[in-house]
């Protein structure tokens, strides 16, 4: 990983120096090993702080949305899964492709610090990972954890090491984690009774504090003005006034990104209440695959998504609601 970071820095430096780009969108070192944050590097000198480690899970593609009207050119560091979001943004004209230089970088899975902490580990000073294991140095000593246990949710269901769009690749040889069945949890919920499902979601969504982190992180939530902030939409609301509004916010949010969501998992990653929001999106992904044939948002640019498309013999909503989840 460290070797890769070096390569990225060198390349970034070259790009800035030559004037090929006006800025690099990457991750900046935080206070600790495990809290790098997305940042724009416009000066070579700042590149010292650019990092690429086991905690660079954030999807940077959305940061280009804000640059759509800029006449400057930016390079962006994208892991394989992030490139799907980029492709989708290009399809929806939410970024200006000609002003973007995409550096596809290799990935062998990123870690969830909360999961590490949950194992009772604190005072982390350094983390190094192999394909299977992670060595964690702390001020109290070292420990070794199975990597699978502490991966980010989205890495557990990794979609592979292919960059669907890029201008150049660095470190693409890295081995991405072997994925679990990403629909397992959705299927498990489907198999519950309606009552159980209701209880489950009530329990999860009642924790929502409406901080909008999910919305802000989501690379599909790129509306200039969100419908919930649009005074003419009839559903504008700054905060949840009732349990109903919690449900409504999340149903509408999931619906608005349905068929556009690349299943990048950012929503759940950033949720301060650890609500598994990605399950709502993933339910739509699963339904869309089952109803209209397999579809992956962002794997090809400029394709019509299933919600702006139709077939003559599509499944009837009545069939869907009559059948419903199991039981």
């Amino acid at each position: 990983m460290q070797g890769l970071e070096k390569k990225i820095k060198d390349r970034a430096s070259e790009l800035l120096q030559s004037g090929a780009v006006d800025g690099i969108i990457g991750w900046e070192k935080g206070q600790f090993e495990y809290d790098p944050t997305p940042a724009v590097f416009t000066k070579e000198t700042g590149l010292d702080n650019l990092c690429y480690n086991n905690f660079c899970g954030a999807n940077l593609s959305k940061y280009l949305v804000g640059k759509i009207t800029s006449d400057k050119k930016f390079a962006v560091l994208l892991k394989p899964c992030d490139t799907y979001s980029m492709n989708q943004l290009i399809t929806e004209h939410r970024v200006n492709r000609s002003n973007i230089y995409i550096i596809g970088i290799g990935c062998n899975g990123h870690l969830n610090v909360e999961k590490i902490k949950a194992q009772g580990i604190s005072g982390i000073t350094a983390v190094s990972a192999s394909d299977d294991h992670v060595n964690i140095s702390t001020i109290y000593g070292d420990s070794k954890l199975a990597k699978k246990e502490i991966l980010l949710g989205k890495c557990e269901v990794c979609r592979g090491n292919v960059h669907v769009i890029f201008d150049e690749l660095i470190g693409e040889e890295l081995q991405t984690p072997k994925p679990d069945d990403r629909f397992e949890m959705v299927a498990k919920l489907e198999a519950m009774t309606a009552e159980e499902r209701f209880k489950f979601w009530q329990g999860e969504l009642s924790r929502c504090i409406r901080c909008n982190a999910c919305r802000n992180a989501c690379p599909a939530c790129t509306c200039r003005v969100c419908v919930f902030d649009n005074g003419r939409s009839g559903i504008e609301a700054k905060a949840n006034a009732s349990e109903f509004e919690e449900q409504m916010f999340h149903i509408i949010r999931a619906f608005h990104v349905a068929a556009r969501c690349t299943d990048c998992g950012e929503c759940s990653r950033v949720c301060p209440e650890n609500i598994p929001l990605h399950l709502l999106n993933r339910k739509y992904v699963k339904d869309i695959n089952e109803f209209y044939g397999d579809y992956q948002a962002g794997d090809i640019a400029e394709q019509r998504n299933p919600l702006v498309n139709f077939g003559d013999d599509d499944i009837e909503p009545t069939t869907v609601s009559d059948k419903g989840g199991q039981k």
Binding site: V186, L189, E190, A194, E195, E196, R197, F198, K199, F200, W201, Q202, V227, S233, G234, I235, S242, E243, F244, E245, Q247, M248, I251, I252, A254, F255, A258, L280, K283, Y284, D287, I288, F291, Y292, P306, L307, V308, N309, F310, G311, D312, D314, I315, E316, P317, T318, T319, V320, S321, D322, G324, G325
Partner: protein, 145 residues
Amino acid sequence: MQEVKEFKPNIVAFCCNWCSYAGADLAGSSRLSYPAEVKIIRVPCSGRVNPMFILKAFEKGADGVIICGCHPGDCHYNTGNFYARRRMALLYSMLDFMGIEKGRTRVEWVSAAEGAKFANVMNKFTSDIIELGECVKLGDIRCKD
């Protein structure tokens, strides 16, 4: 003697102007009765029905929401009901996934000539909703008096 208050559901029917609203008119002019709990909102096309409308209706106290449009292939605007079909299939599936009773939402295709079908659909839907009872899962805390 204890008075048993009969449950009167609140049902919103979104009907497209060209087929289903006309079908409802035909049910009217043919004097085919259906429950008065069903109240129709005219929209140009089933493709105009935003999932937000449906959720809003539940929030405001609806116990059932039904969308009626032209038969697939016969949409006045060619394709509106095809989109509606996909949107509603996904929305209904999500409501079910969140544990909301699946009978509270429905889509039916009713042509301008199907007055009898309109009445039948509304009779059936209303009796289904009565069986489900008041909608409490959606709009838990809505004002009740």
